[in-house]
């Protein structure tokens, strides 16, 4: 058989580790393939994910938070949750991990062309959105879209991720950024309020717009209600699902929901698609 073993990860070096949250439970890992030729075989688009290996601890599916418009370097924002992510958090710059992929579908890039984009993120949910945001903000792509609105929130200022990125987006005149935290905090002079409430206040028009949202399930639930009130049809709402995965290649059966496999048919789904699936996610 000429096809290669689909489980073989490419070794990659962690070049930089950026602590994101004050508690340290989220870190961004900037990694580069040991063999530069792997980059050519790892052509990805926003919305896709990779299986990250910490040899000895195992693998975990992690969304790619970098944009493919940024060459050579992959970024993964990882929340410390289980065995593999904890092992990753213990790694130091220079450590070697394994990366295989890219897996899953992408954000519906063709359908986003010519549209206003409303990004709504909560907590670590900004990670997959960031890939798409930086993709559409890239010099060659910004003209393909109308307004770019970003609403992002976390429990506290210390739980906001990508603060360095938020600062960068803030300075752009072609981005409307709203950052919020759930409750008042000492030293926080920005917005206070839950993400759905801020969305309702900002009230972006649904005309010729697509809303792309990712965050904790409770946030998504209320965001969907607000979006429907704002006139967004289910087909105009895009989200990404998390599901336990193993193989990443549509074989092991783990991420099955209805007649879909999240690793192959997702992780990006429209709300219209989600409504047709059993709510087992």
């Amino acid at each position: 058989m000429s096809s290669p073993n689909p489980y073989l990860p490419f070794p990659a070096v962690i070049e930089e580790i950026i602590p994101e949250t004050d508690s340290g439970d989220v870190k961004t890992f900037r990694v580069r393939f040991q063999d530069a030729a792997c980059w050519e075989r790892f052509r990805y688009l926003p919305g896709q994910f990779a299986e990250l290996s910490v040899f000895g601890a195992g693998e975990a599916p992690i969304s790619i938070t970098s944009s493919p418009t940024q060459e050579e370097i992959l970024e993964f924002a990882v929340k410390r949750m289980g065995r593999v992510t904890t092992a990753l958090h213990h790694a130091e710059p220079g450590a070697v991990i394994g990366v295989r992929g890219p897996y899953g579908n992408t954000f519906p890039l063709a359908e986003l062309r010519g549209r206003h984009l409303v990004f709504i993120g909560g907590g670590i949910g900004l990670a997959p959105l960031r890939s798409l945001i930086n993709y559409v903000l890239a010099p060659g792509h910004r003209g393909d879209h109308g307004d770019v609105v970003i609403i992002y929130g976390a429990r506290s200022p210390g739980d906001l991720v990508f603060k360095w990125e938020l600062d960068r987006w803030q300075t752009r005149e072609d981005v409307q950024l709203y950052v919020t935290v759930d409750r008042e905090h000492e030293g926080w002079h920005g917005r206070v309020g839950f993400v759905p409430a801020v969305l309702e206040e900002v009230a972006p028009s649904s005309r010729n717009a697509v809303a792309i949202t990712c965050g904790p399930p409770i946030m998504i639930k209320f965001v969907l209600q607000v979006l429907e009130r704002l006139g967004f049809a289910p087909s105009q709402i895009v989200t990404t699902l998390e599901m336990r995965m193993k193989c990443g290649i549509g074989k092991c059966g783990r991420c099955n929901i209805g007649d879909k496999y999240v690793c192959r048919d997702g992780p990006v789904f429209t709300y219209e698609q989600l409504k047709a699936m059993p709510a087992e996610y």
Binding site: L8, G58, R83, K251, R254, I257, G258
Partner: protein, 333 residues
């Protein structure tokens, strides 16, 4: 079809399969399973099918998929290798159909599962048509026929007494059959009639929709009350293929293994953060049956059940397809 005496057939098979591992039905204590033996055997008259089918010789219960080794700060990763050519002999049509289903699942693009496919490519499947039903089989209810070849390279049809018919269904099968001295003939083979004919609530084509409309049926919970979450149904099922992957570390080196898992086991869908989209037995029992009878058919057009009857025969709590259909309002609801 070529007609041949049993002893000649075994000699011919053994000659053709020289250099290959022979995997045949073998009795261990009270149970039949597929095991490595010297060569093909004649089945005793009371043999129907093995408790544990041949699935594990294509998709092993546990197997390495890669090896890793640390040297200084660098890691070398090598794929698992070493497939042994094998003959799996005496496979019943229900299990042959199940292998055909696994083939299509594992071959699906864009990432064919080469571990399975490579082993499969090194395997010759010799099927054995059924002349008698076991107490629980219901293949024809699932559209499977007890004399059909499905994934088989060669098919053996027991005829009268010592006489057998042999037919080929693949390139390698035809090569082997060409080496068999036997009379070319059209023998009438009368296959077994399965023991059970399931009272289906609807046609097989309509079954996915029928089940999806019963997604919230209280019958699932009644099934779940009985389920022990032991995973036995999935392990014995010829079409259950879900697997897990994990690392076995030996300090500085180790292997990544793929192992049978089951959606009826408690932690199957539990995520690292603790969230479990199928937190109770009810969702898990439903998932297994829905995946086989609704989700997979909706996706690939084929039911993931071949009517082998093992779940009926061996589930200690009597949770199986007919029971599910009955509890979900199969009685005219």
């Amino acid at each position: 079809m070529k007609l041949v005496r049993g002893s000649d057939m075994l000699r011919w098979l053994r000659r053709c399969g020289e250099g290959r591992r022979w995997v045949v039905p073998a009795k261990e204590d009270r149970h039949w399973l597929f095991a490595e033996r010297d060569g093909p055997v004649v089945f005793p008259p009371d043999y129907r099918n093995a408790t544990v089918g041949p699935k594990g010789w294509l998709l092993p219960r546990s197997e390495p998929i890669l090896y890793y080794r640390w040297t200084g700060g660098r890691v070398s990763v090598t794929p698992a290798q070493g497939w042994r050519p094998q003959v799996i002999y005496g496979v019943r049509p229900c299990d042959l159909k199940a292998i055909a289903l696994l083939d299509s699942i594992m071959a699906s693009e864009p990432w064919p599962e080469t571990q399975y496919l490579t082993r499969r490519a090194h395997t010759v499947l010799v099927g054995m048509a059924c002349t008698a039903a076991s107490s629980c089989c219901f293949c024809t209810s699932m559209g499977v026929h007890p004399a059909e070849s499905y994934a088989a390279d060669l098919m053996i049809y027991p005829l009268q007494g010592e006489e057998y018919g042999v037919a080929a269904f693949s390139e390698v099968g035809r090569e082997w059959l060409a080496q068999l001295e036997g009379e070319e003939a059209d023998a009438a083979f009368s296959p077994a009639v399965p023991a059970l004919s399931l009272p289906m609530p609807t046609s097989l084509e309509d079954l996915p929709g029928w089940l999806e409309r019963r997604f919230d049926d209280p019958g699932w919970q009644r099934l779940a009350w009985r389920c022990l979450s032991c995973g036995l149904c999935a392990y014995l099922c010829p079409t259950c293929y879900c697997y897990g992957i994990s690392d076995v570390d030996r300090g500085g080196a180790g292997r990544r293994v793929r192992w049978w898992d089951a959606c009826t086991l408690p932690d199957f869908s539990r995520m690292a953060g603790g969230h479990d989209p199928r937190p109770t037995t009810t969702e898990r029992v439903r998932q297994r049956i829905m995946h086989k009878l609704a989700y997979h058919p909706a996706r690939q057009g084929e039911i993931l059940c071949t009517g082998c009857g093992r779940c009926i025969e061996y589930c200690p709590m009597g949770i199986h397809l007919p029971a599910a259909l009955r509890l979900l309002g199969g009685d005219g609801r």
